[in-house]
């Protein structure tokens, strides 16, 4: 079976607690009166970090075959990046709307 014995349960617990700490940081940041844009950027970075840690460690991708990493991440990021083509039209919608 894929060798997933590298990490003991204790270290898994450490990783999960680490994720909880990141969530704590996110909450603290929320109440720091940042501008919406910087808060959004910070939250997205932290959430992506959590997701990356979660996928690599909790879901063993770090110990699986390299090809799995190079299949799931490019495919998902490809769609995530391309969906960003929406934003110019979202702002266009806000800027040129009839005020309704």
């Amino acid at each position: 079976m894929s060798s997933n014995q590298e990490l003991s349960m204790g270290s898994y617990a450490g990783i999960v607690i680490g994720l909880m700490i990141i969530v704590g940081i996110e909450v603290v940041l929320t109440y720091q009166h940042l501008s919406v844009r910087t808060l959004l950027f910070a939250l997205l970075c932290l959430a992506s970090l959590e997701a990356f840690v979660g996928v690599m460690y909790l879901m063993h991708v770090k110990y699986e075959n390299r090809l799995l990493f190079w299949t799931i991440f490019p495919a998902t990021l490809f769609v995530l990046v391309l969906l960003n083509y929406l934003w110019p039209d979202a702002y266009r919608m806000a800027r040129m709307s009839l005020g309704r």
């Binding site: 266009r92 919608m93 040129m96 709307s97 009839l98 309704r100």
Partner: protein
């Protein structure tokens, strides 16, 4: 035998298509706008470039089908000299050049419509598309458009734009017509907004086509160079009357336009 028949059929079809395109059996109407020639030039260039690729492709297919039919004797197979490399080079080079040319020249034509700012003193007309009719609004003598109140729209009493002439000073002199009249050789700025569905403002002769998107106002500008009566049609599916959603664009000389506006104002 079938290979030769296929080759002949393909050649006949290719020649027929070539004839239909070259002889302009179906072709664009004469252009009457300033930015039109750019677009026409772009279309003719694409017809020329893509046409050559089309004819070359079909003739190559016909030639191979003609030459390498099913000869009963067990002939020795010949593979294409150089394998696939020349094909890839051809694809990258020829199609690549065509892409660069088309996109570079094309951007100029596209830019002339969308990236050049409208002329400040152009004739401004507010166009509203609703389920199955266009209505046009001229600012009237004060040159300002009154605010729109969608809740006041009442087709029965011809209040198509939802103007509140009692309270809004600017709306009092706005002129609402079902026909778009514009002066010739003067820049025109249309602001397109939709009442309900997605519609589209398409005048073939003006080489202008722009969708109405409900919720936002889209400005387009052009200058007509010829007088005459042209048809505005809706090309975005908007429901059962889509096929009959049209209005007329009348390009007039400046004096005709002025007294047309006066005449429409009297009829409000």
């Amino acid at each position: 035998m079938p290979g030769k028949v296929f080759a002949v059929v393909v050649v006949i079809i290719t020649l027929a298509i070539g004839y239909c395109v070259v002889a302009h059996v179906w072709w664009m109407p004469v252009d009457i706008s300033v930015h039109g020639p750019n677009i026409d030039h772009q279309i003719e260039e694409t017809v020329f470039g893509a046409g050559i690729l089309f004819i070359a492709g079909q003739l190559v297919l016909a030639a191979f089908s003609f030459l390498y039919g099913d000869s009963k004797g067990a002939r020795k197979m010949k593979s294409f000299p150089g394998g696939a490399k020349p094909l890839i080079i051809f694809a990258f080079v020829v199609v690549g050049i065509e892409i660069l040319v088309l996109s570079f020249v094309g951007s100029k034509a596209w830019g002339s419509v969308y990236f050049t700012p409208p002329d400040p003193n152009s004739v401004r007309v507010d166009v509203q598309a609703g389920q199955f009719a266009f209505y046009f609004r001229y600012p009237g003598s004060d040159g300002k458009f009154g605010p729109l109140h969608p809740e006041l729209i009442n087709e029965g009493s011809q209040n198509f734009f939802g103007l509140d002439t009692d309270h809004d000073a600017d709306s009092k002199d706005d002129i609402v017509t079902a026909e778009l009249a514009i002066p010739v050789n003067k820049p025109v700025l249309l602001t397109l907004h939709s009442k309900d569905m997605g519609h589209s403002f398409d005048v073939r002769e003006l080489r202008v086509q722009q969708d109405f998107v409900p919720g936002i106002v889209i400005p387009i500008h052009f200058t007509a160079t010829q007088t005459g009566k042209f048809e505005i049609v809706c090309t975005q599916l908007c429901g059962l009357g889509h096929y009959n959603m049209k209005a007329y664009l009348e390009v007039m000389s400046q004096p005709d336009f002025d007294n047309w506006v006066k005449q429409q104002a009297a009829m409000q």
